[in-house]
Amino acid sequence: MRISMLIKACVLLLSVMWLTPAAAAAIEELNFDNDEQKARYSELIAELRCPKCLNSNLAGSDAPIAADLRAKIREQILAGNSDREIEDYLVERYGEFVLYKPRLHAGTFALWFGPPLLLLAGLFILRRMLAASRQTAVAPVDLNAQEQQQLNALLKDTSAGNSSDNSSDKKAGTDNG
C-alpha cells in the first residue's frame, strides 16, 4: 500500500521534472529556414556573453536583455547576415565584453600569447634546473689511498655507533619490561 503510493509520488515528481524544461523551451520555440541557420544560432548564443550577467553566455541566461539579444541574433540570421556581421553588431554596442573568444589585436596579445609564453618559460627553467642537478650529481671523485682509509674509518665509526645505539635501546627495552 505504502510502496505503491511512494511509486506514484515518484512518477508524479519525475513527470513534473520532465515537463518543466519542455515548457520552458516552448517559450522560445524558434523556426529557421534550415538546419544550418539553427546550428549557427546555437553556436552564436553559446559563444556570445550576456552583457548583464557576469559570466554566462546568451544561451544560458534568463536576463531579459539576453532574451532580447537572442531574438536580435535570430532576426539577423534570418536576414542573411554572416556570423562576423552579427558579432560586429553586438561589439559595436556592447564592446568586446560580449565575445567569449576575444579578437586578436594589440590589447589582447597578452591574453592570447601569455599562457603559451609562460608555459615555454616554465619548460625552459625546468630543463636548466634538471641539467644543473645532473651535472652536480654525476661527478665521481677519485680518492687517494689515505683518503680512502679515512673514509673507511668514518664509515666504520658510524656503523659501530649505530649498532651500539641499537643495543642500548634493546637494553633499555628489557629493563623496562
Binding site: P51, K52, L54, A63, D68, E92, R93, Y94, G95, F97
Partner: protein
C-alpha cells in the same frame, strides 16, 4: 646574476601575481566598459510615450546638454532613483532630461510619471527594447550624458544618487559647459 639573486625571481613573480590579483579584486566586474562613450548618438526614431502617433528621433537630441535615462516601472532601482532625477531636473535648467521607457507597458509608465512627477522633457517609448540595444543597454537604470555635439560623453550603470552626481556627473558637466 648570482645564484642568490636568482632565488628571488620566483618570489618577485609571486608578488607581481599577487599585485594583479588585488588590482582585479578592486575592479567592479559589473562595470562593463561602454563601447559607445565618445561616439555619436545612435540613429533612431521611436514613438513618443505620450503620443503614439508622434515620434522622437536622435535629431531632437542635438544642440544642448542631454541626460538620457533608461528606466522601466518593472525596475525597482528606478523607483529608488526617480525622486532624485526629479530633484536634479528642477535644479539643472540647462540640461534636457530624456526618458527612455524600456521594455515596459506604456500605460503603466504614464501612470507612474503622473503619480511621482515627470523629470523628462522628452519621453521615448521603447517597448520592445530595440532602442536599448542600440544604446548598448544591458538593464535599467542606465544614464547617458550627451554633449552639444551629440556625442555620448558618459554612461552610468545603476542608480544615480547625490554622491554619483557630485563625484562623476558634475566634473564632466563643468568640462562640457566650459568647452561649448
Amino acid at each position: 646574476m648570482s645564484n642568490r639573486a636568482k632565488l628571488f625571481i620566483p618570489v618577485a613573480f609571486f608578488f607581481v601575481m599577487l599585485g594583479l590579483l588585488f588590482y582585479g579584486l578592486g575592479q567592479n566586474p559589473g562595470e562593463v566598459p561602454s563601447a559607445l562613450v565618445n561616439r555619436p548618438l545612435p540613429v533612431f526614431e521611436e514613438p513618443d510615450l505620450f503620443d503614439a502617433t508622434a515620434t522622437i528621433s536622435n535629431e531632437q537630441l542635438k544642440g544642448g546638454i542631454f541626460l538620457v535615462n533608461v528606466w522601466g516601472t518593472w525596475c525597482a532601482p528606478c523607483h529608488a532613483e526617480h525622486p532624485y532625477l526629479v530633484e536634479i531636473s528642477e535644479r539643472e535648467k540647462d540640461i534636457t532630461f530624456v526618458g527612455v521607457n524600456y521594455n515596459d507597458v506604456a500605460e503603466d509608465a504614464r501612470e507612474f510619471l503622473a503619480e511621482r512627477g515627470n523629470p523628462f522633457k522628452l519621453n521615448i517609448s521603447d517597448d520592445d527594447g530595440s532602442l536599448g540595444i542600440d544604446f548598448g543597454v544591458a538593464g535599467a537604470p542606465e544614464t547617458f550624458l550627451i554633449d552639444a555635439t551629440g556625442t555620448i560623453r558618459y554612461k552610468h550603470v545603476g542608480v544615480i544618487d547625490n554622491r554619483v552626481w557630485e563625484d562623476t556627473f558634475e566634473p564632466l558637466l563643468a568640462e562640457i559647459r566650459r568647452t561649448q
